[in-house]
Amino acid sequence: MNWSLLWAQLFNGLTLGALLVLVAMGLTIIFGALGVINFAHGAFYMIGAYAGYVGYNQTHSFIVAVTAGSVALLLVGVVIERGLIRYYYRRPHEDQILVTFGMGIVLVEAVRAWFGGISQRLPVPTWGTGAVNLGFLYYPTYRIEVLGIVAATLIVLYVVLYRTRLGLIVRAGIEDQLMVNILGINVTRTFLVVFGLGSMAAGFAGVINAPIVTVVPDMGTLVLVQSFVVVVIGGVGSFWGALVGGLIAGEIISLTAMVQPAYSEVMLFAAMALVLILRPQGLFGVQGR
């Protein structure tokens, strides 16, 4: 057994998992508060990467790139919520899925029309180049930093969800949407803020991940699919579900890649099927929802 390869793959799984956690968290927060599953979430992630790419090209500052990606998605989220999604809160779930799916097509094609289909690169920031000697493994500095950044973001999200009034409303919404509406909470504003924040999480994940992957208009599809799997494994609307589900997904993909590369993606779906058979509501999900 090649131990350094195992360690490397474990760390790769962790980085991949951390980014999936971030994307799935946005998905699950929006679903929890608004009852809408955003099929355009992958497109949001992709736009985050492109906004970061543009920001970086203008200034050559990675901080500007991250800010651009996050702010762009906050704006996109706010505009789409006000312009479209809000007319869908009272419509059936299928319609919400259909309209966000359609939005996703439009966004991907708009980006393709603007930037072309060829792949772009966002370089690793200067403070992230090189590798770190962990004793048992040389590992790219940037990936270790990504782990730190994601962990910090998740702590912020946790504080927002569990220590603020907004978070209380979101969590109450996950428990019982109708009741929250009845209680006379200003849901209009809450929905807007939550949708904006959830979109921002996707955009943020897009920029952070951009130096690791290639930036193409279709990059969101795989992430959307994987974050669905994360949500199914972890249970919809659960902070810990998204966290554990994301890390499990990341590790499954990269550990399988070590043993049998051809099956690395397939194995993730097999794990999802297994969860469906043994615990259909997801690891942290509550029965009946």
Binding site: F31, I37, L84, Y87, H93, E94, D95, I97, L98, V99, F101, G102, M103, I105, V106, E109, A110, A113, T221, L222, V225, F228, V229, V231, V232, V236, P261, A262, Y263, E265, V266, F269, A270, M272, A273, L276, I277, P280
Partner: protein, 612 residues
């Protein structure tokens, strides 16, 4: 006159859609050429149309939105291409059959997994499993599928039997093969949606939970619909590979599943031909837009915007809109002639006065120490009771006494925490509401649970199908309107709740009191031996209440009734015995007179402000 002849019951009505389809398919190539369409495009449209027929049964009729249909399209296509290339068969028809069966089997497996969750989860799961097939295709199964390259060189072949065959070299000759298969698929799909099986699918779309409590095995129906859709996808995928002589990995792309959904919505879900019309729009516009200088590169964005607009503003789609107009034009006339048939079919409801002698003294329904806890709250606390066959038992108590929870346990809609239930001597403690309903114990709901989009007649048809054909009846080829026994039961149930004249009104257009009666009618049409009525007069005016009491008395002739009610006039006017619940416990059980005299009951209702 024309409208009458063409109406569903008119001389041409029965075969009108098929006749129209034949005419359209014959004329289509030449008409399509006039607007610049090619035979190649026409073939693609029909292939997507076949794909869409199955998808519409799944989504338009059953309400299951799948984003993973590419899995079956691709699997069917690759299997067909593979057996032809590998030389296992020279016959395109045999290969097509193999591809279709393969897709259907995979549909059974993926359906069984995906249907473990419903609603949005189902959409997410199908999308994920669809992607799984893509990854299987490009990587582990590369040696069979050619991976990213696809399978080229599907032998140019001919299709047919014996000396009669069509060469599959040109798009023009291919068109007629695809057209014949489309026609067969269309005929079959129409039979399916018009059968009793199709009626149950519609009820699942309208109100899944209620369809289950009325005695249908929802999971089996949903899975069957899923397999049907997968089989259609397999046919379409196989044709796709045959027609191109090449099966590309695109068959498995998420885009393929997405395009199917988009086309179905554009054309109109729930119309069967909608997806074909949507495919026509998509494929024609794609070609037309690509030729325009500025729009060319963004054709897909334009189609995406059109899709978003259609979902937002015109959800019925093109065919759905046309169908609605057609119904408005032809509807009133048909309704008036058909309601007469309903009246004629209805035998007068048993209005014989209820006799005490019908009480056999046999216990029909029994609860032993039934308990339901929600966390620390005990909603129902060790309640035992026995209902004697033929009696009317009222269950009363102040708000929050646990009456509805108790009822839901009896009907099998929520599982008890502890305790036992028996119905006609059999243990039903852990039985599903579907099984309990099939045994003859059914509940009508406090809040109407109707199939709002269906007519009154079709509403009552759902429980009647469950009673006569059982909890799963996959007979798809017999017209649901054909069975005399079924129609008699529907007509009888409608007459019993005085809704015969409203038979062809959509349930959502009924007045409130009528909806309440239909709610009871749904339960009655399961021919229950015991009926659980949860506040049948809730929200009614005093005169409606009086009517309902009379109605319930006439129903009670052959049925045991347990009724939850707040209105004491109703309770004391109807009940043979009364059980009183208070704070989840049974505090009294006896005849109306005994209950009136009971001090504990009085305290529960009137006194003791601390507990209220």
């Amino acid at each position: 006159m024309i409208v009458k002849m063409l109406s569903a019951r008119g001389p041409f009505g029965r075969w009108l859609p098929e006749t129209a389809a034949v005419a359209a398919l014959l004329l289509f190539p030449s008409a399509f050429a006039l607007i610049g369409g090619t035979a190649d495009m026409a073939d693609r449209i029909l292939i997507w149309g076949i794909f869409g027929l199955g998808f519409d049964i799944l989504f338009g009729f059953t309400g299951l939105l799948s984003f993973g249909q590419a899995a079956f399209f691709g699997s069917g296509g690759f299997m067909t291409a593979y057996v032809l290339i590998a030389g296992y068969t020279q016959s395109a028809l045999v290969a097509l059959a193999i591809g279709t069966v393969f897709a259907a089997i995979l549909g059974g497996i993926i359906g069984a997994l995906s249907l473990r969750r419903s609603g949005i989860y189902f959409a997410m799961l199908t999308l994920a499993f669809g992607e799984m097939f893509y990854f299987l295709d490009i990587s582990p199964l590369k040696q069979f599928t050619g991976g990213e390259n696809g399978l080229a060189g599907v032998p140019p072949t001919h299709i047919g039997i014996g000396s009669w065959f069509v060469e599959l070299h040109t798009p023009e000759s291919m068109y007629w093969v695809i057209a014949v298969l489309f026609l067969m698929g269309f005929w079959l799909a129409r039979r399916i949606v018009n059968s009793s099986f199709g009626a149950v699918l519609l009820s699942i779309r309208e109100n899944e939970e209620r369809a289950g409590t009325l005695g249908h095995d929802i999971q089996k129906y949903k899975l069957t619909a899923f397999v049907i859709a997968a089989a259609y996808a397999g046919v379409a995928g196989s044709l796709f590979g045959l027609f191109q002589g090449y099966m590309p990995p695109d068959g498995f792309y998420l885009e393929t599943s997405g395009q199917l959904v988009v086309q179905t919505i554009m054309g109109g879900a729930g119309t069967l031909v909608g997806p074909t019309v949507g495919a026509l729009i998509w494929i024609y516009l794609r070609t037309a837009l690509q030729q325009l200088p500025l729009v060319g590169p963004v054709w897909k964005m334009v189609l995406g915007i059109i899709f978003v607009l259609i979902v937002t503003l015109f959800r019925r789609g093109i065919c759905g809109g046309i169908a609605l107009l057609w119904r408005r034009m032809a509807g009133t006339r048909m309704a008036s002639t058909r309601s007469v048939q309903v009246m004629a079919a209805a035998t007068p409801a048993d209005s014989a006065p209820r006799t005490r002698s019908s009480l056999s003294g046999k216990v029909i329904l029994e609860a032993k120490d039934l308990t339901k806890r929600y966390g620390g709250l005990t909603a129902v606390d060790k309640v035992s009771f026995e209902v004697v066959e033929g009696e009317i038992r009222a269950l009363i108590g102040p708000n929050g006494a646990g009456k509805t929870t108790f009822f839901n346990m009896l009907a099998g809609t929520i599982p008890p925490t502890s305790g036992e239930m028996f119905f006609r001597g059999e243990r039903i403690t852990s039985a599903s509401s579907t099984a309990i309903c099939q045994r003859g114990l059914v509940k009508s709901f406090q809040i109407n649970q109707l199939f709002s989009g269906l007519t009154v007649w079709d509403n009552v048809r759902i429980p009647a199908i469950a009673r006569i054909y059982g909890k799963f009846h996959p007979s798809m080829l017999r017209d649901a309107g054909g069975s005399g026994e079924l129609n008699a039961l529907i007509a009888q149930s409608l007459a019993a709740v005085h809704l015969s004249e409203r038979a062809h009104t959509p349930a959502r257009e009924l007045a409130y009191g009528e909806k309440r009666r239909l709610e009871i009618g749904l339960a009655l049409a399961t021919k229950p031996s015991t009926l659980l009525l949860d506040e049948p007069t809730a929200g009614m005016s005093p005169s409606e209440r009086q009517d309902t009491i009379r109605l319930l008395k006439s129903i009670a002739a052959g049925v045991t009734i347990v009724i939850v009610e707040h209105d004491m006039d109703v309770v004391f006017g109807l009940a043979d015995r009364i059980t009183v619940l208070f704070n989840g416990r049974k505090i009294a059980d006896g005849t109306p007179d005994a209950i009136k005299a009971d001090a504990g009951v009085r305290a529960a209702y009137l006194g003791n402000p601390v507990q209220r």
